[in-house]
């Protein structure tokens, strides 16, 4: 066992951490004097420290409850910032895998609730990086843990417990998957009110666990503010996620989102959900050279309002039956293929929770940006794969290229303070 792994095992759990009541202390307000004295040379004088300061560290977003029948970060309204990180696990045996998940649970439980990190004394490195200040704000943080099919190979004796449909994500005909950013044993979807909160959580998790799991790929995402209203826009400038099933309705949730009893899945998986995460690169320069009419015909919606081409408001439901030949919404428009709105295709609806990404420049000088397509569903085959097959060859494939991601299974929720991620899977 490596030294690094030992360190993780001994520090696991963060049991000594004391949580504070949110808002019980105020950070110092930012109205520091402009300079030490008036007699100084103005070129050597500092500017005023009038940076925006949060009076309440948890103010940006309220804490999201960590415990529940299913994990937070699925029904949670998408927070503005996200880190997606996929890990390969190097635990030596099942016991070490249990330790890893218990440790992960402890870190996530603390960070999502916020509080004061443990003081390890003056000689040790601080227990928390401190990037969020001395008191860690919850800031709406959620840490959603999903497992990949590779975790169920021979290493940990889990083969017989694999969710029925979980497998390596296949390459669809228009995909261009890069193995270095595809797959992984464990996917963390970390979402929060601001980017530093999400990155802080990833950093704390990584340093507690890097001896037994390594980041295979990662990608940060953001949700744009409403422009000017309604559902946020993706990098193609179209509102993305308008047609999402109402999974907060338990009937819908139990048919489209959550694994339930009696559908042929292992007992431990009840309360979980199949998690499809795909890195879809967008060729936005090419897109920007296409006329608005053509863009709208490809999507099937008006760019500005988000309304379907046969409607006026983004909330209008397209009436494909009234337009059987595609006179108004072309038969191969994205919204028509993705969700034909028939009783036959309704059971294939997926619940999307996507994020935009933006990460630098490609070799050809194009901006490297796109969508972290992120969807949850009860049945991978009946829902995502059926939807994706309908979209093969749609006109939009010229402007996007799926380059990575994978199939995962979002674990059931951590129910109590004694519970931990994947306990049902790993305990006999």
């Amino acid at each position: 066992m490596s030294i690094n792994r030992r360190r993780f095992l001994t520090q696991a759990g963060l049991s000594a951490i004391t949580a504070t009541t949110a808002g019980s202390r105020l950070l110092d307000g930012g109205n520091a004097p402009a300079a030490a004295g008036n007699d100084r040379d103005p070129l050597g004088t500092d500017g005023p420290l009038d940076l925006e300061t949060l009076a309440d560290p948890a103010a940006r977003l309220a804490p999201v409850p960590f415990h529940g029948p299913w994990q937070a970060g699925i029904l949670t309204r998408p927070q503005p910032a996200a880190c997606f990180a996929s890990f390969d696990v190097f635990a030596g045996n099942r016991a070490e895998l249990v330790d890893l998940l218990r440790s992960l649970t402890g870190v996530a439980r603390f960070l999502t609730g916020g509080g004061t990190p443990e003081n390890l004394g003056p000689t040790a490195p601080p227990s928390d990086s401190g990037t969020l200040g001395p008191i860690v704000p919850a800031d709406g943080l959620t840490v959603t843990v999903s497992v990949g099919s590779t975790l169920f190979d021979g290493r940990y004796g889990l083969a017989s417990r694999k969710p029925r449909h979980l497998k390596t994500m296949p390459s669809f005909p228009n995909d261009n998957l890069d193995p270095a950013q595809t797959g992984g044993d464990l996917l963390l979807q970390i979402c929060a009110g601001s980017a530093d909160t999400a990155i802080h959580a990833l950093r704390e998790i990584a340093r507690q666990t890097s001896g037994v799991m390594q980041i295979r790929w990662r990608l940060d995402g953001f949700v744009a503010p409403a422009r000017p209203s309604g559902v946020p826009r993706n990098h193609l400038a179209f509102k993305d996620g308008i047609a999402n099933p109402n999974v907060n309705d338990p009937v819908v949730g139990n048919h489209l989102l959550w694994v339930t009893n009696g559908i042929g899945e292992p007992d431990w998986a009840v309360g979980g959900s199949y998690h499809v995460c795909r890195i879809i690169k967008m060729f936005i320069e090419f897109w920007d050279r296409v006329s608005l009419t053509e863009q709208q015909q490809m999507i099937g919606r008006y760019r500005d309002s988000g309304a379907p081409l046969d409607g006026q408001l983004e909330s209008d439901i397209p009436d494909f039956r009234a337009d059987p030949h595609g006179a108004v919404i072309p038969l191969n428009a994205h919204i028509r293929l993705a969700n034909p709105r028939t009783s036959e295709t309704d059971p294939s609806r997926i619940f999307r929770r996507g994020y935009n990404y933006d990460r630098g420049v490609d070799l050809n000088g194009n901006l490297d940006m796109g969508l972290i397509f992120n969807a949850f569903q009860q049945n991978l085959k009946r829902q995502f794969e059926a939807t994706q097959r309908r979209l093969i060859g749609e006109p939009m494939v010229d402007y996007v290229s799926p380059v990575g991601g994978g199939y995962f299974f979002a674990l059931p929720g951590v129910q109590t303070t004694q519970d931990w991620y994947a306990r049902g899977l790993l305990e006999d």
């Binding site: 261009n176 015909q297 081409l309 408001l313 209008d316 009234a322 595609g326 000088g365």
Partner: protein, 401 residues
């Protein structure tokens, strides 16, 4: 691509709603919707009437409330009077009121085209939007299918000539591979591949040759098993055989298969793949900029390199194909945008200069270029693309509302 659906839309609009159920509720006219527009303009459609009394208001964005007084399903389109270019189109329900938002430009002339199921198409009067300076914006005449037929027939002959040349080059490749001459085979591959690129239909699924095009020049992307897939065939499989695996036996077999595929592209097959239909013409016009769009996406990103480092030579061949498109369409483009062809030619020359500036034989891999060499090539490509992109929108083939 998109032109497919846009062009078929009018014809199919006649049948709109023929199998539909009962009438839909009219969309509520909310204040939120209306407040984004100057005002709501009523338009009436009935049996034998299409927007009677249509008079264009002043320039601006409008919300039209279109009342269908007939008991038939149908569609209405707002079009530019001279060119016939459709500005907006919406389906009509029997007895319903449908809202349509549209932008009217100063000096523009507009008409409505009404289609009601089972009735002949009717067209409103022409109405001119006043312009503040009293200027008249000249309408661009639409291009008829008959006018585009000439260039498209010439393009077919261009393709036939290159395919014949390519057969010779591939035969040489097969001879070199069989004789065990790796360098000779590589050089024959390069010649044959550049000839293929000069045709300008290289991007597989969206070129005129469809799935056959993908098998001739597609990459392993999207194939289960990647380069090990049996469906990985054609030029890039051969490139992989020669440069990466140095496997001349495999190359000989793959060349035989490629020869069979390209031989099936007889002049008759090319004619069938590029028919004289509106859809085919619209898709062909898109090649004016999409040849270079494909090069930007695949060659300049080195995504389709399997060892030959021929991305810059490929880009130069794509420029040649683009120039052929410009040559064939120059009269139509110049009639609409007078300086576009000259600008594009100048920018394509600058792109060739940038390619040649990277070193001898265009043989450097994209990733091995210096940052400034690569930036020069990228900038020149982007400049040409920005000029070429509007061509397919400017030339609308006889698409009257």
């Amino acid at each position: 691509m998109l032109a497919l659906t846009a062009l078929s839309a009018v014809a199919s609009a006649v049948a709109t709603g023929s199998t539909a159920g009962g009438p839909r509720r009219p969309s509520p006219a909310t204040d939120a919707t209306a407040s984004n527009h100057a005002s709501v303009e009523p338009i009436a459609v009935g049996q034998g009437t299409c927007a009677p009394g249509w008079r264009a208001p002043s320039a601006g964005r409008y919300l039209f409330a279109i009342a269908n007084h007939s008991s038939r399903w149908g569609a209405i389109s707002l079009f530019q009077w001279g060119s016939g270019v459709v500005v907006e189109r919406v389906a009509l329900r029997p007895g319903g009121v449908t809202r349509l938002a549209a932008q009217l430009e100063a000096g523009g002339a507009y008409g409505w085209g009404c289609l009601l199921l089972g009735l002949p198409r009717s067209v409103s009067a022409e109405a001119q939007v006043p312009s503040p300076q009293g200027q008249f914006v000249p309408a661009v005449a639409p291009v008829s299918a008959a006018q585009i037929a000439g260039p498209l027939l010439r393009y077919r002959r261009y393709v036939d000539g290159l395919l014949a040349l390519q057969q010779h080059e591939l035969t040489t490749l097969h001879e070199q591979a069989t004789a065990g001459d790796l360098a000779g085979a590589e050089s024959a591959w390069l010649a044959a591949h550049l000839t293929w690129l000069k045709i300008g239909q290289d991007d597989g699924a969206y070129g005129a040759f469809g799935e056959l095009g993908r098998r001739i020049d597609g990459t392993a992307a999207g194939l289960v098993g990647g380069t090990r897939s049996r469906d990985f065939t054609g030029f890039h499989k051969l490139e992989f055989d020669l440069w990466t695996r140095h496997d001349l036996r495999a190359a000989a077999g793959d060349t035989t298969r490629l020869l069979a595929m390209t031989r099936s592209l007889s002049p008759q097959a090319v004619a069938a793949d590029l028919p004289l239909t509106l859809t085919s013409m619209a898709n062909w016009l898109l090649r004016c900029h999409e040849i270079l769009e494909d090069a930007l996406r695949d060659s300049l990103s080195a995504n389709d390199d399997y060892g030959s480092n021929s991305d810059l030579a490929s880009l130069a061949a794509d420029v040649a194909a683009t120039r052929e498109m410009l040559r064939l369409l120059a009269p139509f483009i110049t009639a609409r945008v007078p300086h576009l062809v000259a600008t594009a030619e100048r920018e394509l020359s600058a792109l060739i200069d940038a390619i040649n500036g990277t070193g001898p034989d265009r043989g450097a891999g994209i990733a091995s270029l210096s940052v400034s060499q690569r930036e020069r090539v990228d900038a020149a490509s982007d400049a040409a693309l920005a000029t070429l992109a509007p061509v397919s929108d400017e030339i609308q083939v006889a698409n009257t509302s």
